[in-house]
Symmetry: C2
Subunit: 324 residues, 2 copies
């Protein structure tokens, strides 16, 4: 969609124009490096589209939108240290390219930069947007902590898992939309509906992501399926499978979870077949669909001319396109 592409270009130009003119380079270079890597800019695009729904002028929203994007990239930088990840978007992570201390400290400075950009919100809306941003930032930290705790936890319930992905992924998408709406002058009710649109979109997105990792077409998604299975990652599929499996199925699933050495392919095929047998593939798909529908229901209920909803409708579909 041309409109979305244009916004992305506006954002990209502004992001590329960010210069840190002060030393030390060791503090600021990793921030530029992280920001310039080729992200999809989903959050600030949603931010601007939400603003545009209520206002013709979106200039005031650009810097705050970029603040949300900087925050998102900051979380990736610090998460990569915690997850010991060496590659991000095809490039070495900051703690690999520099070192862990530099990654910690540059991350900290990056969060400050995020706040600086969010602080460019017009005075009239500053208090409200700032409170929303901080509350969301706390939520994202909570989500990452739950994610780390779940790794060591014996069992994770469906509710716990959904709460975790809500915090880790959805609240920032939701808040980007709501903040954009606030700066665009939306009333509370409409801003809240956009928040829920983002929240459910995020949940659908993450659930489908779990599904894709097992059932996605490798020709389309460019990665070998089953990565999560190999690592025993507690995805929605595994959580439901552990809930549903009985007798021999349960024994087989637990066998694969406990196995320290195994042939990758054999394990992936076996667990995938179990997922199919237990119908957790359909279940995950249905759950994603539910949230997808709920998202668009919220969008529909927004009290504004229908044609103004078109770009966000489109963007929502683009985001979930790969899952259709």
């Amino acid at each position: 969609m041309r409109e979305i592409e244009e916004l992305r270009e506006v954002l990209e130009r502004r992001i590329q124009s960010i210069e840190f003119k002060r030393p030390p380079a060791d503090l600021y270079d990793p921030i530029s490096y992280t920001l310039q890597s080729n992200g999809k800019r989903i959050r600030p695009v949603l931010f601007l589209l939400a603003c545009q729904m209520f206002s013709e002028k979106i200039d005031d929203a650009i810097d705050p939108a970029i603040g949300f994007e900087i925050f998102h990239n900051f979380t990736l930088l610090h998460d990569d240290i915690m997850d010991n990840a060496s590659v991000r978007r095809g490039m070495p992570t900051v703690h690999e390219k520099w070192n862990v201390n530099t990654a910690i400290l540059s991350g900290d400075a990056m969060m400050v930069e995020a706040y600086k950009f969010v602080s460019h919100t017009p005075g009239k809306y500053l208090g409200e947007v700032l409170a929303l941003f901080s509350e969301t930032a706390s939520g994202v930290c909570e989500g990452q902590m739950f994610d780390m705790l779940f790794e060591k936890q014996e069992t994770v319930s469906e509710a716990e898992y959904l709460e975790m992905i809500k915090l880790k992924t959805s609240v920032l998408l939701a808040a980007s939309l709501k903040a954009g709406a606030i700066i665009g002058g939306a009333n509370n009710k409409n801003a809240e509906k956009l928040y829920l649109f983002g929240l459910h979109l995020g949940l659908a997105f993450q659930l489908k992501d779990d599904w894709l990792d097992v059932f996605g077409d490798p020709a389309v998604f460019g990665k070998k399926p089953g990565g999560d299975i190999v690592e025993n990652k507690k995805t929605f599929l595994l959580i439901k499978a552990l809930e549903k499996a009985q007798g021999a199925d349960k024994m087989e699933l637990e066998f694969w979870l406990k196995q320290k050495e195994f042939d990758r392919e054999t394990k992936v095929v076996a667990v995938t077949n179990l997922y199919r047998k237990l119908e957790v593939d359909k279940l995950t798909d249905r759950k994603a669909e539910e949230h997808f529908n709920e998202a668009f229901k919220q969008l529909k209920e927004i009290d504004i001319e229908e044609y103004k909803k078109r770009p966000l409708n489109e963007m929502g579909k683009i985001l979930l396109e790969r899952i259709k």
Copy 2:
């Protein structure tokens, strides 16, 4: 001074009342642990004293003042990871008591809490205080990065060193005072003078801290002198000594810097004697005194009734008392 003690109690009560009611405990317990440890609350006391200089009502300043204190404690939490420190104020550091990932993530969440408290600044002053706070936070990160870089650097100049301690220590003291003054309704000129008061106070404090580590009375300060000498820490004393030493003195100093194994006492005595011989003790003392005098000159120039300056005058002296 009773007035200062009373403010400290007000602050302490408010800090102790901060409750994190949401899970996960692993994210929020380390924040409570860090905040409840027995800090001197210097920054928020300065904040409130500065506010009180211009306004009888200081209620509006309490939360923002605590925001600055939370930020300070956050920097200690993350610095302790980077410096691999296991003890802080007589207690195990967060990464020791929990683990490094928890310390990184709780620190992040703690910075968000700092911003939440600063965001409680009355709307009228919010934009200005927030910009000052973020700018200061960037400076503190820069200071910590310079400090880490200096460890690996062959030589550090006097100017580089002063810039580093200004960023790492002074700007947050200065900004606490300025933000308090802003919320108290001070004009720009007076607020800026308080900033400079804090900046020079911080420099005097840090220079005297370097001096005390070598020449302080162990009976008074409760720690063995010479810790910095043992670690070859690039303090003002060492930097000036390296600048001034010639011939045999230079050789002796470099001998001790290169020595991998040595008797602690012998090295401390030898380097201390060199410092005396090169008169870098007096030089450091004089430099601290210069900044001390400059600080009080700035305070004097503030355009307000003299009696209103008394509490800050007192607080400044208390801070530097240990150096007199």
